[in-house]
Amino acid sequence: MVFIMSVNFHPRKLVKKTLETFYGLGAQTSARIMAKYSIHPLARLETVPPKTITSLTAELSTMTIDNDARRLVQDNIQRLRDMGTYRGRRHAMGLPVRGQKTRNQIVTARKLNILERGGGDRPMGS
């Protein structure tokens, strides 16, 4: 098992996929991080030397990702809600925020516009 940011990963997992499991870290950022440490795109965790894994963890800990990133988004929504704005209310109701029609096709809004956006916190060590 390989630990990155105190999360446990299978050694056969692709490094790219591993990095992208963190909320707020997508394809662009993962590609850049991997280039920075000279890890090729098809590398698996088992082939990455432990030294690099440590530097990856150090690199990730300086970034606003995962629970921090999630909380940032949730705080922004909460702020709108607390101010009592229209956008805050629409978020709380799970409806489109930016003036779209609501007759049909609001699946994305139902999915995304919630106060707890991005799900709950990642439990430590999982």
């Binding site: 850049r32 000279s38 090729h40």
Partner: protein, 463 residues
């Protein structure tokens, strides 16, 4: 007399149970209920006990699907290993008697042109270790590996060996149509190198190094990148293919930068085999290369297949997230310098790059550089670059400066006949090999393009 129930209730007696219309008459009710009660059906169900469905017998009943045992799951890498397997013999094919084994003299003998020769076992092992055989070639159709010595083979190898014996460097690019036998010619060049006891280094597929499928790492204090795992594998191949030659050579330079001690008594074979650590792969390989360049060593044969793949910008990225040019990857830089004439070989060397046409990136620089090299070789006017095309890559022109371009074309008719006779004798070609059939296949194959001849004749039996 009017019935106590309405006519609708007589027609559909079950309705009556749901909505009794009249309770006034107690006379007719028991009769109707008795006739149409469900108890008869219930009794039948209890007695029969077979199928409960009303439409029994009218339904299409298929046999229940048998759950098959899924067996062992496919292990990682197993499918690729199967796809890339190289089968060099086939017990179902007939043995072809009376064919000579290849020797160093055969490959330069003009009399041997147009003959089929067998590969001796020792040579097969060496060629296999340097990965000269490819999964796309049809070795698995025949009892044992044989190859056709073409006029081109003799011309190329004779020229090469003559020059290398005079301690010159031969820099060749083998090009030609798709399926015309460029890689097989590369294999024949490698066989010549191995039979002449040169130090043979072969990169079987340049694509593996440029498509970012193998690991890479920056080389400290340089702008280059190395392929640690690939270079370790390559050194193993060099060691096993050239063990006899390398074990007789001693280390002649100081290698203080290497992490292990390299005494003067150490053989080059031991040096090639010295490390298993990816971190030290490139320094060790570089030390071995420096040793081979010392005067008094045997000639070097350095081959690379898929030349166009190393003439472009690779898919690797440097820490600044810029794409790395293939010539900044250390191993490919080594080959590019050797092919471009930047490296001096005091003992003579044969540097051969084999183009690929089936799987080839579009590279105007390579096309132009080869056109220019071919024109310079033929002594005609050298074509100028397109003035309106900005993306010419000067590094490609440097790497292909002054190479001799060897264009592989279709085989001649006598060669085609020799080949078809061999196929027929092996039992894979079931037709009379006469003038007419040979001519037909030769024409169908676009004037004897070998790959097309195989397609026209052998693919009926290929699995």
């Amino acid at each position: 007399m009017a019935a106590p129930n309405c006519w609708r209730c007589l027609a559909r007696p079950s309705q009556r149970l749901l909505a009794p219309t009249s309770t006034s008459s107690s006379l007719a009710v028991p009769v109707t209920t008795a006739t149409f009660s469900t108890s008869a059906r219930l009794a039948k169900k209890e007695g029969g006990g077979l199928s409960s469905h009303v439409r029994t017998g009218k339904k299409l009943v298929l046999g229940r699907k048998k759950k098959q045992d899924p067996g062992k799951p496919v292990l990682p890498g197993e499918r690729k290993a199967f796809r890339k397997r190289i089968q060099l013999s086939n017990d179902n094919a007939l043995e072809v008697p009376g064919l000579a084994q290849v020797t160093a003299a055969t490959l330069v003998d003009p009399a041997a042109a147009g003959k089929i020769v067998g590969l001796p076992d020792a040579l097969i092992d060496q060629l296999r270790t340097v990965e000269a055989f490819k999964p796309t070639q049809n070795w698995g159709l025949f009892r044992s590996p044989h190859m056709l010595v073409r006029q081109e083979t003799v011309d190329l190898i004779k020229d090469m060996t003559d020059k290398v014996q005079k301690k010159q460097t031969v820099r060749t690019v083998i090009t030609g149509e798709r399926g015309s036998g460029k890689s097989i010619l590369g294999l024949q060049v490698l066989s010549a190198g191995l039979l002449n006891k040169w130090v043979v280094i072969n990169i079987p597929e340049a694509q593996e190094l440029s498509t970012a499928h193998t690991d890479y790492s920056p080389i400290p204090k340089s702008e280059m990148f190395s392929h640690p795992t690939y270079i370790l594998k390559l050194m193993q191949a060099i060691y096993s293919a050239n063990k006899d030659i390398l074990s007789k050579l001693q280390v002649g330079l100081e290698h203080i930068h290497l992490p292990f001690s390299v005494p003067r008594s150490m053989s080059l074979a031991a040096l090639a085999n010295a490390t298993k650590e990816p971190d030290f792969a490139w320094p060790t390989f570089h030390a071995l290369w420096q040793e081979l360049l010392l005067p008094g060593r045997p000639p070097i044969m350095f081959n690379l297949d898929g030349l166009s793949h190393m003439m472009r910008v690779s898919d690797y990225r440097n820490p600044a997230f810029e794409l790395i040019h293939c010539h900044d990857l250390a191993l490919l830089r080594l080959f590019a310098d050797a092919l471009g004439g930047k490296t001096q070989f005091p003992n003579g060397a044969a540097i051969t790059g084999v183009m690929t046409k089936g799987n080839c990136p579009k590279l105007p620089s390579v096309d132009m550089a080869l056109e220019q090299a071919a024109a310079a070789q033929a002594g005609t006017e050298i074509p100028a670059r397109d003035p309106f095309y900005r993306k010419y890559d000067d590094r490609v022109f440097d790497a292909l400066k002054g190479v001799s371009v060897f264009n592989v074309k279709g085989v001649s008719k006598p060669e085609a006949r020799a080949l078809m006779e061999y196929w027929a004798a092996s039992g894979v070609l079931r037709m009379r090999v006469d003038e007419k059939n040979v001519s037909e296949k030769w024409t169908l194959a676009g004037s004897g393009v070998l790959g097309e001849m195989e397609r026209a004749s052998l693919y009926v039996v290929r699995l």
